[in-house]
């Protein structure tokens, strides 16, 4: 018993040791580059695409340029809409999954994870095969005589939404399922026992209980959607550029690294503020109750 405190101390030391490699990794490959991005963003680009370090806010001011501002606001709008749509589609799916017998839950989980086996880019290019003028959908509809002309689905907002929702769905379903699966069947039964129909029971009992899952799902969908440049690039065409695209453009084509860095910094700040607000203003009902006892 006498050496128990000593053992505890060495245990804590070991835990600290375990933290060391990831801490080094994160510093080298996350914190430092982030600092560098910030440094670039207050610098200036010179004629040959290089960066002159300095201390100017002119790159940040460029966000007020109607062209960029438009793309920023559009990105926020698209991401919000796409996240809401993903949530609406994922909720029934997650609910059915959580209510299914254990064996079927495993099968459905497996089906949801299958897309992760294929490269993201390949899956996105597959949409060209699906949605193109001579793609699967148009060919089928034309053959069936539903339409005379192929529907112009590629390079449209429609294609962007389809691509994003497809990409987001597993990320939304999994946290929702995790939250719903923990839901006690007895709570739903109690609600129905007290006079609630299936929908009322869902609205008043199941939905509030799944709020942590909804918040997690929304974060997992909204933020990657906001920053993604591949989907708008492949499926959206020139009229559906998003933040990710203009940042990439600054770095790769316009060779204006400071401007790209400034946009990246704005984007990262925005995301961090949103996540912090999410954490700050959301405490589950149980936690809240426990908190007020203490």
């Amino acid at each position: 018993m006498a050496n128990a405190p000593a053992r505890q101390r060495s245990g804590a030391g070991f835990a600290r040791l375990l933290l060391f490699p990831p801490a080094v990794w994160m510093t080298l490959f996350f914190a430092l580059p982030l600092g560098l991005v910030f440094l670039y963003s207050i610098g200036d680009s010179n004629t040959y695409g290089g960066v002159t370090f300095g201390c100017t806010l002119k790159n940040y001011r460029a966000i007020w340029d109607p062209f960029f501002l438009n793309i920023f606001l559009r990105s926020l709008l698209y991401s919000t809409g796409i996240t809401v749509l993903s949530l609406l589609l994922a909720m029934p799916l997650a609910y059915v999954m959580a209510c299914a017998p254990a064996r079927w839950q495993k099968v459905m989980m497996f089906l949801i994870i299958i897309p992760f086996w294929t490269n993201f880019l390949v899956r996105m290019f597959a949409f060209i095969v699906l949605l193109g003028d001579n793609g699967l959908v148009n060919t089928l509809l034309t053959r069936l005589g539903v339409i005379g002309e192929p529907l112009p689905m590629m390079n449209s907002l429609f294609a962007v939404i389809v691509g994003f929702v497809y990409w987001n769905l597993p990320y939304m379903v999994l946290p929702l399922y995790a939250a719903l699966e923990r839901m006690e069947v007895a709570h739903v039964e109690a609600a129905m026992d007290l006079g609630a129909g299936r929908f009322t029971a869902f609205r008043t009992i199941t939905l509030p209980a799944s709020v942590p899952g909804i918040i997690a799902g929304v974060i997992f969908c909204f933020i990657p959607t906001l920053g993604c440049f591949v989907i708008p690039d492949i499926l959206g065409g020139p009229d559906n550029l998003m933040i990710g695209n203009i940042i990439t453009l600054q770095f790769l084509q316009a060779r204006n690294w400071p401007l790209g860095s400034a946009f990246a910094t704005i984007f990262i700040t925005l995301v961090m503020v949103m996540i912090s607000l999410g954490i700050r203003y959301y405490t589950p009902a149980n936690e809240k109750a426990r908190g007020s006892v203490l």
Partner: protein, 360 residues
């Protein structure tokens, strides 16, 4: 008021409830008692509407409710782990039912206050369920169900999650509450003491069937099957055969060769093997031979345990069997508190009117 007719529930090939017939009268405190897996909870869930019967009907009053969804039945349930809604306050939980019925706000508030007062929760309305003790949660569950003024209240092992002391106190309170409100209670439990202390009538179940349905005294003193005899309290079994049934008195030949009499008629014909069931407290240990209205067996004291208000004996019979005896310590002699020595030869005596004859 609640009538189950050939009620049946099967899961695949497993029969959970096997053609049960049962009538529960209005205002009754009825108890379904049995070991886990006997089908008692399945019956409760079918009455509540959470399970669809495989066959048979459930009549509540003059309405067949067997196919109705839970929300359309005039029945409310107190769940085993209470199933309080974690996202509502105590008040919110209790107001859930009346709010869905779209009663006027004043009426809802009045009823909720009334229900909270009924179970002594007046001070706790704004608490969250997770801030309550087990006993308090149980009260909220009760108030949440009673506030709807159901014709029938179902209680699924509501005391099993409570501390022993709180559970004991709550037993009396539940019984009082039921008497005062006059609502029919159907109470499911595996705890025989709960059933005996609270119920007006008990149905003892096993393997999806009702073994015996009677009032607590009859269940305890006149069990009709060996299972009921064994499940409720402690029962000693003495094996033997029926030797004579003349004059309304049953004479038995016991395994050790001695005879015993039972001063009641028996449906068992002469020659059939039976078990004579006697409760520990119906037996008496004595140094004197039995009187003519008593049966007696020879034995020795194998063990004696002083329990305060009573002394438990284990008696080894000459045949080798052992019986449990419980004697109230109404007379404790200071020098010899237990009255007997270990291995002392004694008579084990019981009245010819006590006990019960069961199929061997």
């Amino acid at each position: 008021m609640l009538v189950l007719t050939r009620l049946r529930k099967q899961y695949g090939d497993t029969v959970a409830v096997d053609d049960v017939d049962l009538t529960i009268t209005k205002g009754e405190f009825f108890c379904l008692l049995g070991p886990s897996g006997c089908g008692k909870t399945t019956i409760l869930r079918m009455v509540a509407g959470f399970e669809k019967p495989t066959g048979g009907t459930i009549m509540l009053g003059d309405r067949d409710i067997s196919q109705l969804p839970p929300y359309a039945r005039d029945v409310n349930t107190v769940f085993q782990n209470y199933a309080l809604f974690p996202n509502y306050t105590v008040r919110g939980n209790i107001a859930y039912g009346p709010t869905l019925k779209k009663l006027p706000a004043g009426e809802i508030s009045r009823r909720v206050d009334e229900a909270m007062a009924l179970v002594g929760l007046e001070q706790l309305g704004e608490r969250m369920p997770s801030q309550l003790s087990g006993g308090q949660q149980q009260r909220v569950a009760l108030a949440r169900a009673l506030v709807n003024r159901p014709a029938l209240l179902l209680l699924d092992e509501p005391l099993s999650a409570l501390d022993k002391q709180i559970a004991e106190r709550t037993r009396l309170e539940l019984k009082d509450l039921q008497r005062r409100l006059g609502i029919t209670f159907v109470f499911v439990t595996h705890n025989q003491v709960e059933a005996l202390t609270m119920a007006d009538r008990i149905a003892v179940m096993q393997h999806g069937r009702i073994e015996q349905c009677a009032d607590p005294a009859a269940i305890y003193s006149r069990p009709t099957t060996p299972f009921v005899a064994d499940f409720i309290g402690i029962m000693n079994f003495i094996t033997g055969t029926v030797a004579d049934t003349a004059g309304g008195v049953t004479t038995l030949r016991l395994a050790d060769g001695s005879t015993a009499q039972y001063r009641e008629g028996t449906p068992f014909p002469v020659g059939s093997s039976i078990r004579y069931g006697i409760r520990p407290e119906q037996l008496r240990v004595s140094l004197l031979p039995p009187k003519d209205f008593e049966n007696g067996l020879h034995g020795t004291i194998a063990r004696q345990i002083f329990m305060g208000e009573s002394t438990q004996f284990v008696i080894a019979l000459t045949g080798g069997a052992t019986l449990d005896v419980s004697v109230l310590n109404y007379l404790i002699i200071a020098e010899k508190p237990l009255g007997f020595e270990l291995n002392e030869e004694i008579y084990l005596i019981w009245s010819k009117s006590s006990g019960v004859l069961l199929n061997g």
